[in-house]
């Protein structure tokens, strides 16, 4: 089957599904879609190439079915965006294999859906050596961990990748000792936050020739009517976040984006709820000033 990738989020189980390609009450029904990241996770899907991009635009909810050798993998996915660069880099014949591997990873040998398990159960099983359970945990929280790391490391993707890699390696090694005193999500964020802090401490100023310096693009602060709002609002936020001090930035992301409680944020950052409350207040005020022209 000729396929191409798309990014998906919010996949949900689906009890019934038609086999044929058709539109049904606003839902796009696909014959076969390969999904990575698990039914409840986010990730990448490979969809039939004959579907036009306009039919499968970002925001579309899609009913899907993965190949028969993967048991009980009917899902609903939401197409978030088309990663053009990603699609260009990957050859058409390699992508389905990557996607298929992702599907198999989240299924136990018995076909039971691992994604139905709670974080606590997955952590417990991972601690006992269950690699499939750990893969599901990574599929569930990996995107958020990476999103946090990238923004805490000023958009440096390689540094963020290293930080998440190191944090997940430590998580796998030490999950056997995890006693559930905090939520799995909070624990993972604490590992990533510590790695990000270490990465920032290791940084050294490097001399750069003035000739190679370029001005910071000010697109993010351009008048909203002159740019595509949805994308550039996020870009503006990224620029504004870089200008925030470390703790303010971390507090704001963990609260507003990842929806952690004050107590959980305090645990991730190794501080108190009172300090988090203050940092969050200052972060909101600073962001309001930086983002003022987006009102």
């Amino acid at each position: 089957m000729d396929v191409r990738p798309c990014v998906v989020t919010n996949a949900l189980p689906l009890p019934e599904l038609d086999d044929e390609l058709s539109f049904d009450d606003g839902w796009l029904v696909l014959g076969v879609v390969l999904v990575t990241g698990g039914p409840s996770g986010r990730g990448c899907a490979a969809v039939p190439a004959q579907l036009s991009e306009s039919a499968l635009r970002p925001g579309t909810w899609v009913q899907t079915r993965v190949p028969a050798h993967c048991h009980d993998t009917r899902t609903v996915i939401r197409v978030t965006s088309w990663p053009d660069a990603y699609a260009a880099e990957r050859s058409a014949d390699r992508q389905p294999l990557d996607a298929r591997r992702g599907v198999v990873d989240v299924l136990s040998p018995g076909g039971e859906r691992v994604a139905q398990r709670s974080d606590a159960v997955l952590a417990r099983r991972s601690g006992l050596g269950d690699r499939v359970a750990f893969a599901e945990l990574v599929g569930r929280h990996g995107p958020a961990l990476y999103r946090y790391a990238v923004r805490m490391l000023d958009g440096e993707h390689h540094a963020a990748e290293d930080a998440v890699q190191e944090a997940l390696t430590k998580a796998w090694v030490h999950l056997g000792a995890f006693r559930g005193e905090s939520s799995v999500k909070t624990w993972l964020f604490r590992l990533v936050a510590n790695e990000c802090l270490s990465a920032r401490r290791r940084r050294r100023p490097r001399p750069v020739d003035d000739a190679v310096l370029t001005a910071i693009p000010d697109d993010a602060r351009a008048a909203p009517e002159t740019v595509t709002v949805a994308t550039d609002l996020r870009a503006a936020l990224d620029v504004a976040l870089v200008e925030l001090p470390w703790r303010q930035r971390a507090s704001w992301i963990l609260r507003e984006v990842e929806s952690l409680s004050y107590a959980e944020i305090a645990e991730v950052l190794g501080t108190s709820s009172t300090v988090v409350r203050g940092q969050l207040h200052r972060a909101r005020a600073n962001l309001a000033v930086t983002m003022e022209q987006w009102r």
Binding site: C44, Y86, A120, G139, H157, L168, T169, V173, E256, A288
Partner: protein, 179 residues
């Protein structure tokens, strides 16, 4: 807070500030739904690398037909969990391996003397027969992995501890009271 907001009466929230906060919430929502493309590319590699990390684990002596073999305790735990996981209505919570040092002709090693299996079980499950099944499975699996070690890990040293009772399937969720 914008500069102009200083002139407004106390308690009145400037509409401009509300608009900015609304845009910030919108940006946060957008960021929450966003999956970095780079993560999509590297997720499988990151996961694979993490899983290659070895957990520190003491070796346990096993007896193969051709001679003694040492197996990491973590391997015993993984295999036992996998075997017990095939049983319905129970979920392994922890597995502890008891060992004692032993001097053999090939040097000093640790010999397995017992296994403690802690389970979570579904409410109203009949516990004693389940414990017996778990014990049988564990002993059988240990015999496959450790061989004819002396003294053999007998049924009497494989304890089954009912550590938790759940309202739903223990393989899917933990009881809120136990968190």
């Amino acid at each position: 807070m914008t500069a102009g907001s200083m002139d407004r009466p106390a308690g009145e929230v400037p509409s401009d500030d509300l608009a900015v906060q609304a845009r910030l919430r919108e940006a946060a929502d957008d960021l929450r739904a966003h999956v970095d493309e780079r993560w999509v590319e590297v997720a499988n590699v990151v996961l694979s690398r993490a899983l290659t990390a070895t957990r520190p684990s003491p070796p346990v002596r096993a007896q193969a037909p051709t001679g003694p073999v040492e197996i990491a305790e973590q391997v015993l735990v993984s295999y036992l969990r996998d075997s017990i996981d095939q049983l319905d209505d129970c979920e392994v919570v922890t597995i502890g391996i008891d060992t004692r040092p032993e001097h053999g002709i090939d040097g000093r090693g640790e010999v397995c003397t017992g296994v403690l299996v802690a389970l979570a079980v579904r409410y109203q499950t009949v516990l004693i027969p389940l414990a017996d099944r778990v014990r049988e499975v564990a002993v059988s699996r240990l015999a496959q992995m450790l061989g004819p070690v002396e003294p053999a890990v007998s049924v009497s040293v494989v304890h089954v501890h009912i550590a938790d009772v759940t309202r739903g399937d223990p393989k899917l969720t933990t009881d809120e009271r136990s968190r």
